[in-house]
Symmetry: C2
């Protein structure tokens, strides 16, 4: 059983701020500052080039992969870090398409993160083999997995509503028709208990700067099921995925195992920050985290709905159908969120009308939720969102 | 005129070390430690998600692009940072291929960095349109640019020998037959004066952790000539290259200008380190740098050749045909370099027999070169490389 009062003390949270945006960018683990400083001054500064071996930089993508692997139920040695989530989606999807060469349909839903869809469109165009991206409504995905589907490409937790797909059932349905499943775990890893192995997922990808608290621009991860990895010809065949990167052969030969999904030089400073964040995760019981997350989101929904009838719940009411976020719809949601932020309650706005709040038991507790409810009630009941200062829509982070 | 004694004081160099490996990984600019620490504690720690706007993280790829752009002669607003060099090669090459749709030959040379070749092989395979990668010897490139060539893809400075391609002449030759030129400036940016604009280069890419001193895993850059950018459909169409990333449309529309070459979330901590490194570069006169670099390499060649007849110069003797490195061939080069490193002279080994030394006037001066020559003379004349401790070949950084 994880002691979440203890984990909360491990984070630096800005004074007075209630931070319900850990699903966009996790806050700073206190040890990360010293870890990054050590990597800069003791490793880069003192070891310079030899840091690749002597400070373990070169092996870090696989080492971190295993630590994240535990949180998503992956087999050891089958997760690797690198690049951005968009790049990892591209790699996973390209490999998935190769596994089902006789079919042309890639099935996704409109709740998928747009970049996943953009990368898919780009890959389809590059391949030029007539693949079709079929975008369903989320609730229609299960009924659309037919015999023409090559790949089911889904983000498990909807970035706007928090709606949670049944990963096991949809993967089983995909396999039932001979398709493969690629899962984007951006809003799952560190948010809910994930079991890629138990679900039989073929590929999974995710980012590490949200619930995992790896820092702004932290690298992404990719999982490939052991049964597939030796058949995957990496779409982005960079030198660090080569069987012998330092032989400098002119011909590409993929490395063994998940390392072939590496591409170029990994971001050492970002990995140092993520490494510090994983020191916290190594001791978290994911079942306890999920229970606590559900308690917090239930408390939040009940409190906000009681105080703010003008807000419409956009997230599933059933906690089993929801990730670790709660969203409300409100026509002036952008201005309302700006008013909340001005009162030091930080959530996110997502166009056109979604006010999104993330709940991360590692550093959010029931008192924070009560305070958040009070602020939202004040903003809504006193029409603080009607202040012209908050009305101008700008690019929202 | 740049004062290189002054720039040397801006770097942290390990005590007693002569670091002739800045062409693999530049050393730590002293201000980078504080800059990164500020980004971690004051920006990530205090601003959290709002750092994307309030700390300028989101605009950093273009801001840094312009600072690097000055060093390579790019027009303002036409360089952007992100990803790794392998990914940027892929993007540039894919866009270049699109510009010459009726031809199938991609011309490169065996002195190109293997990852560029691997990424090209991968792209050709993905496209499946019968493109051919033609790999010539470096000296045969000029004579091979014929009417069937779509793209000339070259690394300007050979990573093993330092041989320097004539970028202006080869670009002109490519244009003369209707081909486009993609230049990898990995060993050029910060090493020699580059003028992509004057040369008429169509695309250029490079990394920032070598001569630019951006730190281990620092992001890559890409330049696209203004005449092409609005016709480039990015091959890796990620959300941050979208015209309106935060509109979350389901259809991809490329952003205006070079920003469309962005893919995913940029590495904020790495960019902070690079930003500090660029504070030094902003004041460097590239013509003075080149003069000093040539003086250092000439001094080094003369000294080593006089003392070590068993070493064979692998770099061009003519400084105008050479980048900012000097390489020697020696059958036991791996062991000899290990012996040098044991004496605190750090260079690189590149298979099968290349001892490689980089010269970076920002922090290497004539006294360093004299000391380096003495150590190499000691290693070679006293057969220190014959020590079994140095003989075992391992993965070399």
């Amino acid at each position: 059983m994880t002691d979440f009062a203890a984990t909360k003390a491990l984070f630096h949270l800005p004074a007075g701020m209630i931070y319900l945006d850990g699903n966009s960018l996790g806050p700073l683990p206190k040890t990360a500052a010293a870890r990054v400083a050590r990597t800069v001054t003791q490793e880069w500064g003192e070891k310079v080039i030899t840091g690749w071996n002597r400070a373990g930089w070169m092996a870090q993508p696989e080492r971190l992969g295993d630590r994240i692997g535990r949180l998503i139920g992956a087999e050891a040695g089958h997760v690797v870090l690198g690049d951005t989530l968009s790049i990892k989606v591209y790699q996973a999807l390209a490999a998935a398409i190769d596994l089902v060469p006789d079919r042309k349909v890639i099935l996704t839903d409109s709740g998928n993160f747009p970049s996943d869809i953009y990368m898919t469109e780009g890959l389809i165009k590059a391949l030029g083999r007539g693949h079709e991206l079929r975008v369903m409504a989320p609730q229609d995905v299960a009924g659309s997995i037919g015999g023409d589907v090559a790949v089911v490409l889904l983000t498990q937790v909807d970035y706007r509503t928090g709606r949670l797909h049944d990963m096991a059932a949809l993967t089983k349905a995909a396999h039932g028709v001979g398709a493969v499943a690629v899962w984007d775990l951006a809003h799952s890893a560190g948010a809910i208990a994930v079991d890629v192995q138990g679900c039989g997922a073929d590929f999974a990808v995710g980012c590490t700067y949200k619930y995992l608290n790896g820092g702004p621009g932290a690298p992404a991860f990719i999982y490939v099921a052991p049964r597939h990895i030796e058949n995957c010809a990496p779409a982005l065949s960079g030198w660090l995925g080569h069987a012998a990167p330092f032989a400098f052969d002119l011909d590409y030969r993929p490395g063994s195992g998940i390392s072939r999904m590496r591409v170029g030089t990994p971001p050492v400073l970002q990995m140092a920050a993520l490494d510090a964040a994983m020191d916290i995760w190594d001791h978290v019981d994911m079942a306890a985290l999920r229970r606590t997350s559900i308690a917090l989101t239930q408390q939040f929904i009940a409190g906000v709905e009681a105080a703010c009838p003008m807000l419409t719940l956009a997230s599933p009411r059933d906690p089993d159908a929801r990730g670790s976020q709660v969203s409300f719809r409100f026509a002036d949601g952008y201005a309302a969120m700006q008013a909340c932020i001005a009162r030091n309650l930080v959530g996110d706005f997502r166009a056109p009308d979604i006010m999104r709040f993330g709940f991360t038991p590692l550093f959010i507790d029931a008192d924070d939720v009560d305070r958040a409810i009070s602020i939202i009630a004040d903003v809504m009941q006193n029409r603080l969102w009607d202040d012209p200062a908050y009305k101008a829509k700008a690019a929202v982070t």
